[in-house]
């Protein structure tokens, strides 16, 4: 798996409504479809934005994906600052 699969998933969650809805209802199926495995899969499922960012995921894509998944902005920033437990 390359970082591109994660970036593609984040972009599609933001911009492709069908992917957004399917990711909300069944994230495992979508993660399988995009081939997201290992730690990145765990961090995506936990919304662990801090770990994703620390492993080179683009912060714009992280932030926009979070907004699309209706993660509150304050919650997002608490998570990326590591002040909120997973």
């Amino acid at each position: 798996m390359s970082l591109y699969e994660v970036h593609k998933l984040l972009w599609d969650v933001r911009r492709v409504r069908d992917v957004t809805e399917r990711y909300r209802s069944d994230p495992d199926a979508v993660l399988d479809e995009y081939g997201v495995e290992g730690d990145f899969r765990t961090w995506m499922k936990d919304l662990d934005f801090k770990s994703l960012y620390e492993h080179d995921v683009n912060p714009y894509l992280l932030y926009f994906c979070a907004i699309q998944l209706e993660v509150d902005r304050a919650d997002y920033y608490a998570r990326i600052r590591g002040v909120k437990a997973r």
Binding site: F49, Y60, Y77
Partner: protein, 283 residues
Amino acid sequence: MSTPRTGGKIVGAFAASHSPGITGWPERAAEDARKAVEGAYAEVRRRIAELEPDAVIAVSVEHFTNFSLGNLPAFAIATGEDYLGPATPEMAKFLNVPQHRYPGDAALGEHLYSSALDAEFDPALVQGGLEFDENFCVPLKHLDPDSRYPLVPVIVNGVNPPWPTAKRCYDFGRMLRGAVARQTAAQRVVVLATGGLSHWVGLPESGDINEKFDRDFLARLESGDPARLTAFTREEIDAAGNGAHEIRTWLVAAGAAATGFDVLAYEPVSAWLTGTSVAAARI
């Protein structure tokens, strides 16, 4: 026999921040800061109206609204007849800008694209389908509320490293200046750059402002000195946040203007998450 028309001219160049807060939640800024920024936007709106431009070359980044890491150009020139913005109803609500279509100047866009290739720049061609986010929707709500001016959108990568160098951006602007002079359809052209200054998007530092960087950048912009403007390294810009990389769009405008700018407003507005400025070239 009619007199041949002379080449087009850049009659004005302006630069402004495009923080979603400027239109989305203006009230969260301190009243003085808000008044200063909105006053500067109103002044630029007045000046552009007075210039009666045939077209506006609008230079900004785009925030993964159209491009992705499957295809991310360093520069792109759009040649569409019109553009949708904001891209989605949700974004329209977020930015407090009604979703609508902005007119495009397709002929000027095609000329700029062709001229770029002749000048050995290799931007991506975007013939249609480009949608706007805060990049253009936020400043144009203030500067062209009725969407009267035909646009040629120019996109610079400011959202994912590695970014084009400061010199390349300035030179891209110089290329645009030459290209405008080599066509006759759009006689009076305004360049509008949007983005910056210091800010952090999606990062732990979000809300910080690097005022020292902002004031240094604005001093260089005021000087108009190409050597000072193009001396920025990627690392120096990065110290002012991932959003600060949007100053590349201002560098394009500086190259197109070929002169210094007056800073009409600068306010470090943490509530808008951005060092917020509006500037006008001394043309």
